[in-house]
């Protein structure tokens, strides 16, 4: 129910540990119990974790008669419930539940295909499971991370986080401005305790303790007969920094989502690109992105190089991909040379240019019946497998006249393999991704490509609905596998198509712009440092009490309290005690008849026991 027990929460009584503790009184003696008579204020506020005080119930109290009474009562009731709800939302327990829901909610997105990453898989899934697909669709399971319910979880979590941080920060500032609380009445109750008798005056002891503690960078002050000190505020600072850094990261991500842009461009060796919207093959952007936000730059692809593993079990695995480019920033920038590799994007301002894909672009020449060149271009092919078996379409839009002198359009559906298996092997699949034995297989069509119909066309495919296939003299479909330099003649003087020896490569580039990522990075590192402070630093309090005993000798008592039990606390207290002890050494035992509290101690001057605390 709460982090810091108030003593009122029913949970504590039910917790198995405490219920079975040998000492029933121990159940009440929680560290940090404000209401605890023995520790008093000493243990309170050792952290700023929220104290849960929300108790549901009727908040309106007594209702005065009449409409006015009803309104007043309703108002009190509404405010009461709102406050209750807010306290619930900002409690640690609800934060825990929301965190749990967040991790649970993230799971389906990793198991069900997501339209953001692989739309094709989503379509396949829907085809295969018609009922389940529809159900998933309704639940937003194909785009979990932008679904309403997932957003609801993390937005609630962050509202809770803000609602938690603000009061905690105030509380912490208050703690920093006030002094460490005074010593509790019975220091023997604390987790670490030491005592001895000394001939030094109590004031001297306190003075010495104050000095020692301050030297050890405790915040210390004298409060009555004791010195009160505290150290480790960085723990709380770190914790708050961590949680604030989480908010910074979320805001930075959100900002990036709204203003980001991402576009793709395929460039054949020798080709170029300048960063304007119209040049992209496809382009996506956030809701608040405007075209003016595009960084002005341009680049040319000089050469693309790929190498592959030649032998061994991983034969064919890519080893290097790199593209040599020249680029210039701004409209009239100086041209610079650079290479873009898979892991090494080119950074220009806010934009990054990534190398994301590659393939082959065979150069073909198409001539009409009279031998005039009507088409001479590198045609990018779409890779289908790891060995770059590729498919594409060659479209001759205009300038072509057929054997009868009529204007027509030509289309060739093409298959390209960089390494052919060999004639008679029957397969048109590539055997290796490099250009070892390139072959281009073609079949031709004539008629209308249908590109003017207004429907966007896939550049790698032909729409043959208004085209006729070329046939050879026997009436069979005209198909041919070409080696570099070879030509396929079209029937009836329709011309020819040549597969040139010069085969180019193309590279696909992605240009992204994501503002706010610097903030996200800064937030991330702040989060790590905050976390380290929060987890590795222990916040603790030390008290040193010096009083004059009944026999006129000064009794020194030291005790330490941490937020959680720590092995280091007794050690530290021991060190501190040793330092104070140097200034206020033990006095000789006043009464030799007192039984030695610890028979193992060789020295009879040893520490007098504190109320049986040393019984082993």
């Amino acid at each position: 129910m709460s982090t810091t027990d108030t003593g009122k929460t029913p949970d504590t009584a039910k917790a198995p540990d405490t219920a079975k503790a040998p000492d029933p009184a121990a159940a009440k003696r929680h560290v940090g119990v404000a209401a605890d008579g023995e520790l008093g204020e000493a243990g309170s506020q050792l952290s700023t974790a929220p104290v849960d005080t929300a108790v549901p119930g009727s908040f309106g109290g007594a209702r005065a008669p009449g409409a006015k009474g009803w309104i007043a009562w309703t108002g009190r009731e509404v405010i009461g419930w709102a406050r209750w709800f807010w306290r619930q939302l900002t409690s640690m327990r609800v934060a825990l539940i929301l965190l749990f829901l967040l991790s649970l909610g993230a799971i389906p997105g990793s198991l069900i295909p997501q339209s953001g990453t692989d739309a094709q898989k989503v379509a396949d899934f829907k085809d295969a499971h018609s009922v389940l697909g529809a159900v998933y669709d309704r639940l937003g399971l194909f785009h979990v991370y932008s679904s309403v319910w997932f957003s609801a979880i993390y937005i609630l979590l962050f509202v809770s986080l803000i609602g938690c941080i603000v009061p905690r920060t105030w509380q912490f500032v208050g703690q920093l401005r006030s002094r460490p609380p005074g010593a509790p009445k019975r220091l023997t109750r604390l987790p670490a305790y030491a005592t001895w008798r000394t001939e030094a005056e109590p004031e001297q002891v306190r003075e010495a303790a104050l000095k020692v503690l301050r030297q050890r960078r405790f915040r210390a002050h004298v409060d009555g007969d004791a010195v009160a000190a505290e150290k480790g505020y960085l723990r709380e600072t770190g914790n708050l920094l961590f949680h604030i850094a989480l908010i910074v990261m979320l805001v930075a991500f959100a900002w990036g989502q709204l203003f980001k842009s991402e576009g793709n461009k395929l460039i054949v060796e020798g080709g170029g690109f300048s960063n304007t919207l119209s040049q992209y093959d496809d382009f996506k952007s956030g809701n608040l992105f405007s075209n003016d936000d595009l960084t002005p730059f341009s680049f040319n692809l000089k050469k693309f190089t790929a190498t592959y593993e030649r032998t061994g079990p991983n034969k064919g695995t890519p080893r290097t991909f790199q593209s040599d480019i020249t680029y210039s920033v701004g409209a009239y920038g100086k041209e610079k040379k650079t290479t873009v590799k898979v892991n090494e994007p080119l950074k220009i301002g806010d934009s990054k240019v990534y190398l994301v894909s590659h393939g082959y672009a065979p150069v073909v020449t198409v001539r009409d019946g009279k031998g005039n060149v009507v088409f001479h271009e590198a045609v990018p092919m779409l890779p289908l497998d790891a060995n770059v078996t590729s498919q594409g379409a060659i479209k001759v839009m205009d300038g072509y006249k057929n054997g009868q002198g009529r204007s027509e359009q030509l289309g060739f559906s093409a298959f390209f393999v960089p390494t052919f298996a060999g004639a008679g092997k029957g397969t048109m699949f590539s055997q290796f991704p490099a250009l070892d034995f390139p072959v281009l297989a073609l079949s031709g069509f004539h008629g209308s490509l249908g590109v003017n119909s207004g429907i966007p066309q896939n550049v790698y495919q032909l729409d043959t609905s208004r085209m006729k296939q070329f046939k050879d003299a026997k009436g069979d479909i005209l198909k041919k596998r070409l080696l570099p330099g070879e030509t396929m003649k079209l029937p009836n003087g329709a011309g020819s198509i040549t597969f040139e020896k010069d085969i180019k490569e193309w590279a696909g580039f992605q240009v992204t712009q994501q503002p706010g990522s610097d903030w996200a990075l800064a937030g991330a590192f702040a989060a790590i440092f905050g976390l380290a402070g929060s987890l590795f630093i222990q916040r603790r309090r030390v008290w040193v009490r010096a009083t004059t005993g009944a026999d006129g000798v000064t009794v020194v008592e030291m005790a330490g309290l941490g937020r959680s039990e720590s092995a280091k606390l007794p050690e530290e207290l021991g060190d501190l005690a040793a330092l104070v002890h140097e200034q206020a050494p033990s006095a000789p035992d006043p009464d030799p008849d007192t039984p030695d509290p610890d028979p193992d101690t060789p020295d009879r001057n040893a520490v007098p026991s504190a109320e049986g605390a040393e019984k082993q």
Binding site: M1, T9, D11, A15, D17, A21, P22, A27, R29, V31, M92, R93, L96, L99, S103, A106, I107, G109, S110, G116, T117, V144, T188, P191, A192, Y193, A194, W196, E309, G312, P313, T320, K341, N343, V356, S517, A520, A524, A527, I528, L535, F536, S564, E565, P570, G574, A577, H581, S586, D598, T601, D603, N605, V607, A610, G612, A613, E614, K615, Q616
Partner: protein
Amino acid sequence: MTLATATNEHLANISNTLIYSAMAVYTLAFFAYIAEWLFGSRSKVARTAAALTEKPEKPEKAKAAAPAVTVKKAGGTTVLERPKVVTRSAIGARDVPDGPGAHGGDEQGDLYGRIAVSLTVLAWGVEAAGVISRALSVRRAPWGNMYEFNITFSTVAVGVFLVLLALRKNVRWLGLPLVTTVLLDLGLAVTVLYTASDQLVPALHSYWLYIHVSTAIICGAVFYVGAVGTLLYLFKDSYENKLASGGQPGRFATSVMERLPASASLDKFSYRVNAAVFPLWTFTIIAGAIWAGDAWGRYWGWDPKETWAFITWVAYACYLHARATAGWKGRKAAYIALIAFGCWLFNYYGVNIFVGGKHSYAGV
């Protein structure tokens, strides 16, 4: 060139031999640990019951812990150097003493325990040499596929154990469970996951790979050690609960449980271990995001591997929160810690094998 290839293959073979040798030595260590537990069972200690049924008139009972009185002889007079510090366990917690360890105070058991630790050190050295020669044979960091990941992972896990031992932490009880799982892990590596040494695909060429994957392996190994502690905590806690409520656990359970540390100590141990690596895990994820930003053009794309790293992170954050929330301390928090480690495991094995995604280069 061919010469270099030959040396590399030679090195790869040496690496394989070393890994097999390490397995053999780990097996010997395993038997030595078993012997330690067997001999230790001769001692009949029942300190837990005694502590739990102690009369409530002595609530002030407290452990005198380090730093005890140190006495310095100075010119014949004895000078007390530092006062004694008396500690008491957190209020409300059970005051159960830690068990003596697997040997249970038995001399022969202790001897076997020491032999087991020495063998573990030896096996670790051999295994580390195997990992290093593998790295040399491929001329890169040894974590390009699941085989390499597995052998590196178990080396780091045993390394963590040995470091804790060297720091004189009370962790010898970890030996048997750890070596058992290391043998399983290596067995899986050499049979199912084996991949001949080879280069990386271009997407893996980056110094962020070294940072991201090495910290991921360290985190996994430390999380694993924490998970073993958590699991034992749950067993020991049930045992103590049973005793405290007047039950009578079986002889085997008594024999084993009495030799383990107190549940409170185990709980503290696993908390410390998990809390200590959590910042490193956070860093691992961030380093991965930076690398993904360079390699794939986006920092975060909800790829299955990324998603599960995130889930693991949130689950451990849940655990840390639970520890700070009164009603969730103890067993409930321990269950969350185990779930969190389960997420880590799934991310490592499950995602590579069943789910796929951009990270599935693991050679399976």
